[in-house]
Each structure stands twice: as structure tokens, then as C-alpha cells.
């Protein structure tokens, strides 16, 4: 793979796959990882296992929405053009739908059913978000110090106005030095 490669065939294939996956991505594109692996690695052979896994790991750690791992998969398969077209594919359908639905809802804020939805979903959303955090916490058996770090960070974020970016820098430093 070279960054500026010209490969419209690969781009079209990527675009088609991500377009098809977009509307299934309830809960974020990360829920579709098994399906993406089947399509891109096993069936189409566009990228290998190592690149597939490192695309996810890098996007989790780098700033920005996690969906950017899709851009990385495009990058490893088809260079810069692949990255851009993959993002357009995964975002276009879901964005159109989200905008249409949220507009429909916001003109009907006085409806009792809309209010019931907005209020009723709050506790569920909080539980789901907590599960996301839980999913990311390091396992206690192998990384007890990293788990302690997570706990301290949770307290700092909850109770103080500590700058989030410095907390990340501290985590990268402790990790890089092999302390957690």
C-alpha cells in the first residue's frame, strides 16, 4: 500500500461494503467489526489480520470518534482515496437518516410520546454508557495497576475539573514507561 495509490476498483468495493453496513451500525460502527472482518479480510482479501486489528487499536487510542477506524481500514486497503471513500460510505446513509429523524422529533417536542421517549431513555442510556466504560477497563488479573489508574481517572473526572487532555497525556506517559 502506498498513500497516494490510484485504485478505483478497490475504492468501489470498499464504498459498497461500508454503504451496506452503515444502517446496521446501531450502537456505533464498532458493533460491526465481526461483519467487517468477514467482508474485507476473509472474503475480499483487501487487508490482512494485522492491519485490521491495528486499525481498531489505533483509532481507539487516537483522538476523535472511534468510527475513524473505518478510515484506517480504507487506508490500509486503498491509500488516501480508500480512507476518504470508506468514511463517506459508512457515514452517508446513517447521517441522512439521523438528521431526518431528529428533525421530525424536534418539531414534535410537545407530543407526550416524544417526551416519554426522551425521559424514558435516559436511565437506559446511562446504563449503556456505563457498560461501554466497563468494556474498556483493563482486566484485574493481568493489569491491576492499569485498573487502578482507570479508577483514579474516573474519580478525577467525576469530582474535579482536571483537564481531560492532561489525564490522557499522563496515561500515555505511565504506559510508555511501562508503569501500568
Amino acid at each position: 500500500m502506498t498513500p497516494l495509490m490510484w485504485s478505483p476498483d478497490i475504492w468501489w468495493t470498499l464504498f459498497g461494503h461500508f454503504l451496506a453496513l452503515s444502517l446496521m451500525s446501531i450502537g456505533g460502527a464498532i458493533t460491526l467489526v465481526p461483519d467487517m472482518h468477514r467482508r474485507l479480510v476473509t472474503d475480499a482479501g483487501l487487508l490482512n489480520d494485522t492491519d485490521f486489528t491495528s486499525a481498531i487499536a489505533l483509532a481507539q487510542a487516537a483522538p476523535g470518534p472511534n468510527v475513524l477506524f473505518v478510515a484506517l481500514m480504507g487506508w490500509y486497503s486503498g491509500g488516501l482515496g480508500g480512507a476518504v471513500i470508506s468514511m463517506v460510505g459508512i457515514m452517508l446513509p446513517s447521517t441522512t437518516l439521523a438528521l431526518a429523524v431528529s428533525r421530525w422529533v424536534s418539531t414534535r417536542r410537545h407530543w407526550l410520546s416524544v417526551q416519554a421517549f426522551q425521559a424514558g431513555m435516559i436511565p437506559v442510556t446511562i446504563g449503556l454508557l456505563l457498560a461501554t466504560g466497563w468494556h474498556l477497563t483493563p482486566p484485574i488479573q493481568t493489569q491491576p495497576k492499569a485498573l487502578l489508574l482507570s479508577a483514579v481517572i474516573a474519580l478525577l473526572v467525576w469530582r474535579t475539573k482536571a483537564s481531560l487532555i492532561w489525564l490522557v497525556a499522563a496515561g500515555a506517559m505511565l504506559g510508555g514507561l511501562g508503569l501500568v
Partner: protein, 208 residues
């Protein structure tokens, strides 16, 4: 409109001055969001810039996650739309994606170049796991913060805590697909809330 949950001084809220301001704000928050953007989005939009109340934030997030697509991207669409219509929606989304995407592609390219130099790969991998631990902590801390408005919720806070624990258990222990949790627990909760709001509205009507 009935007060479902106590609103936190709506009057003192601020708003973006222009599309450019919106773009810069979303780029800035996306670039600070390591391992996920929700924690930073809550901090920036509710506390620092004061464009939304925590209440607004959870409501929009609820809508954003029921729809397909990354929830922070849906969230930025909705917030942009609220202030500047469809142009605002696109600008906020572009802000969320453009800068971090450029940075990440540069990183991927550099990593490809330096991966085999000495211990570089090993050090980078350890640094990434440190960042992952911090990201987990940030999300949990944000949840604890967002849980505060629940004390005035129409269902009452004990019910809310039970529902949140149930949603958590279904995802974290039972590993149910999110769609099931949303359809099963989510729809049940919404119907219950609807019945309660309805009864409250009719009793208010008969008292007047």
C-alpha cells in the same frame, strides 16, 4: 409543557456565534477525545461553553444512540442542526471528523515508517494501553456526572437506578446485542413513562 425533569437555568445558556465558531468548537473537542469523545463533549458543551444543559445532553445522546451511526457523530449533527439548521449539522459533523482523521492518517503513515526502529513499536503499544485505561476512567466518571439529573426524573430515582443497572447488566454480563436492549428494555421504559405522563396530565386536567 410539563416539567419532566427540573431544568438547570436555561436562561444562562450560551450559543455558537457562527458556523465557523461551531466548526472550531467541534474540531477542538474531537481532538481532545482520546479513546472516545463523549467525556470531552460533555465537559466542553455543558460546562465550558454552556451551549447545552446536562439534561439536553443526555436527551440528545439518547436519540443519537437509538439511530444507526456513531453516537457522537449523530450527536454533533443534532447539536449543529439545533443552532444553524442543516448547514450547522454538516459543519458540526465535519468538525468532528476532519481534523482527527487527518491526524490519524498521518499517524498511521508514520507508524508504518518507524515500526521497525528499535523499541518504537513496543513503547507505542504500552503508551496506547495506558491511554485505553484513562479512556475507560473518563467514560465512567462522565456517567457518574450525567447521572445527577436523574434525581428529579419522572420515574423517581430508585427506578432509574434499577433500570440503568439492568441495561448495564444486559450489556456487560449477558452480552446481549445493543439492539435487543434498546428494543426490549428501552421500549418498555418508554411505554411506562408514557403511561405515567398521561396519568399525570389527565389528573392535572381534572383538577383545573
Amino acid at each position: 409543557m410539563p416539567d419532566i425533569i427540573a431544568t438547570t437555568d436555561e436562561a444562562s445558556l450560551d450559543r455558537p456565534r457562527s458556523l465557523w465558531h461551531l466548526f472550531v468548537a467541534f474540531s477542538a473537542l474531537a481532538m481532545q477525545g482520546f479513546g472516545g469523545v463523549i467525556a470531552v463533549a460533555q465537559r466542553e458543551l455543558c460546562e465550558r461553553r454552556r451551549w447545552l444543559t446536562p439534561q439536553d445532553f443526555v436527551e440528545l445522546l439518547s436519540g443519537a444512540q437509538v439511530l444507526p451511526g456513531p453516537n457522537v457523530c449523530n450527536l454533533s449533527l443534532m447539536i449543529g442542526d439545533r443552532f444553524f439548521g442543516w448547514r450547522g449539522a454538516l459543519v458540526a459533523l465535519a468538525g468532528m471528523i476532519a481534523a482527527p482523521m487527518a491526524l490519524m492518517l498521518i499517524l498511521a503513515w508514520l507508524l508504518g515508517e518507524v515500526a521497525n526502529v528499535g523499541h518504537a513499536r513496543e513503547v507505542i503499544q504500552h503508551a496506547l494501553s495506558g491511554i485505553a485505561a484513562v479512556a475507560a476512567g473518563q467514560i465512567i466518571g462522565t456517567v457518574l456526572k450525567l447521572a445527577a439529573p436523574v434525581k428529579d426524573h419522572v420515574l423517581g430515582w430508585p427506578v432509574c437506578v434499577a433500570l440503568a443497572s439492568l441495561a448495564f447488566g444486559m450489556m456487560a454480563w449477558l452480552h446481549w446485542p445493543l439492539v435487543w436492549v434498546l428494543l426490549g428494555l428501552g421500549s418498555g421504559t418508554c411505554i411506562g413513562t408514557y403511561a405515567l405522563l398521561r396519568r399525570r396530565a389527565s389528573s392535572k386536567g381534572s383538577a383545573a
